[in-house]
Symmetry: C2
Amino acid sequence: MAKDIKTRIETANAEAFRRMVAADPVLVDVAPAGDVIPGLTDKMVLHSGPPVDWQRMSGAQKGAVIGMLLFEGWARSKEEAIKLLEDGAITLEPNHHHQTVGPMAGTITRSMWVFVVENKAFGNRAYCRQVEGRQQFGDSSQEALQDLIRWHDTWAPALRAGLRQMGGLSLKPIIARALQMGDELHNRPHAASSLFANAMAVPMIEAGIPKEALISTLRYLAGHQLFFLGLSMAAAKATADPARGIEYSTVVTAMARNGTEFGIQVSGLEGEWFTALAPPVKGLFLPGYGEQDAGLDIGDSAITETVGWGGFVLGGAPGILSFVGGTPEEALSYSRDMRQITVSTSPEFLIPALGFEGTAVGIDVRKVVQTNIPPIIDTAMAHKNPGHPIIGAGLVRPPLDCFKRALIRFAEKYGLK
Amino acid sequence: MAKDIKTRIETANAEAFRRMVAADPVLVDVAPAGDVIPGLTDKMVLHSGPPVDWQRMSGAQKGAVIGMLLFEGWARSKEEAIKLLEDGAITLEPNHHHQTVGPMAGTITRSMWVFVVENKAFGNRAYCRQVEGRQQFGDSSQEALQDLIRWHDTWAPALRAGLRQMGGLSLKPIIARALQMGDELHNRPHAASSLFANAMAVPMIEAGIPKEALISTLRYLAGHQLFFLGLSMAAAKATADPARGIEYSTVVTAMARNGTEFGIQVSGLEGEWFTALAPPVKGLFLPGYGEQDAGLDIGDSAITETVGWGGFVLGGAPGILSFVGGTPEEALSYSRDMRQITVSTSPEFLIPALGFEGTAVGIDVRKVVQTNIPPIIDTAMAHKNPGHPIIGAGLVRPPLDCFKRALIRFAEKYGLK
């Protein structure tokens, strides 16, 4: 019996792994969230991490939600926004309940344009918003909203025109190349951002976008080294989702944080969250900020680690260490350690610094608990209070409790001892 | 007395190092070689490496010279070209005698458009031609000349227009970033090529280049991963030249090969070449080619190693190992070894994989001879016979004899025992 169950788990995990490595994420559109994200209605704000209500939201996420209410024009002041939120006039739901992910506070509302990534191997779609350095960190000032407005008015429509001209852009080749160019595709997607900018220039010109908008968009792309994070997150979400709901699979299908709690989801336990208090991030602070300012771990961006990028490929991206701290040797050992808690390695995403071995894919809850090695996540840091831009970056490990709780529930559901 | 000389040498080498790391290479123009390269006259072909006459030229260089005669219209057939060359109607001179460098055979004639890089810290200029995969390897077929023709007719003039629009492009920031993105800037300048394409898109649009030429040029840039090699070579030449002619300096100011001989030049022995037979390259072959096909080491591209890039930073560019062979550990040890034969490390060009230590700069002939560690060069391979495109890539070490001869001559010139 025990052996039979073990075989079932192994088979299910092999299938989850197979689906993840078979993914073929293609950027098919950039569109207003309200037009494309399933179930996203008026007066709804999607947020990162597991479910959380207004009262328990972290400072950064509160600030970002307020920012979205101002951006949408649902409130004319912070005070008005807070009143609406306290009155329950605004619905708050996790991105992950809507095939969506968002960086840091992760806030998405109907007028926010999002990337639409289709996994051509399975037909599912995933969505992610633009990455910037202020509003998503909890800064709701008029200045902080400028990037969202320009994204809405100019940059996103220009990208949509280019994408329609070219008929979609396959992300796998960009990701594979970027992993050999010092990117880990989470905190450091610089090469991918550059390759993406090059890929879009010609189709945007061909699409006949007016010169001013064209130049503004190309400048934005060339100057925004973190741009591709929004695409690697959408690609990762599109990659992870087909691995959901496989009976008996102990493979993690999402890791997400809201600044209050860290939550994971597991394939064989579809629809459930296993949460623990969000941990603090260990890392380096930007000038003017220190440990006393830091909020707890936040963002859906750990979806990149869920499919084997981010902290999992830190050994191939030592350039990020000046931002998050640590030595190249430590970075290599993180990447090697991750093989101990995953199903197998990718046949297509190869890390030169590890002798062209593949990225570690398919976090197995059992292996995390057995080895006491939690996944390593490479992340940015938000302030504990609303109203601040990015304050730093570093490394974080999810609480082992999330994995232990998932395993206990797994044993219960599948009748294990 | 011995001590006095030693101090003079150390002081001179420190000055050579200082000049190299103070360099500020800026791409100021792309222009027809005949308009800008000093001393380049009609019916002259510049070539890579130390001086060599037609009879002693390697097969690849012969093929490339023939290609240039056809490109210029000085001959209408290969036979006519060979006759002109045998009759001495064509002058052959090294690029290095004209502030110039060229990849592989390195052939440059008056109509070939070249990069014009000005070292703003010292006011000197250096030139390099476009990098492609056929003519410069000795293939003189009509098909092989197509890239040169498109470069001449469309791509180079478009880049010139963009550069004039923007007033020049500083290369140091691109180089510094690329070294943190898995580039070694010789065989693997992929990140730099991508960043360069990003930088040129907007100014080329602003310059009002006709749409067809604009799109053709942007496609060319986005699709040509080795594009930046021409710029890293020009930047390296502009960086190395101010270190020439410092009395008592034993620092190498050029390493260059013509497929027949490997030659080096030394600061305190300005104007002289120290040569030995060019060595074979150890590496990997493209399909259809093997060791029996390989010509000997060729190209001015070792100017990149002369200033501390290329093989010297292989530890930071493990992606290249799939092209040249070897392990990441070997690549790291090459980079560490180079510190033993150089004056010091760059304060600005940092290698994340080596804990953000600087690149090794300023090859000291004395240290090479004392340690028996020749510089390591990361290079492409040409066929031994004319008429072939690129056949492979690998690593090569210059003959120690070049360094020994230079040291003997140094002792003679400066009255050492």
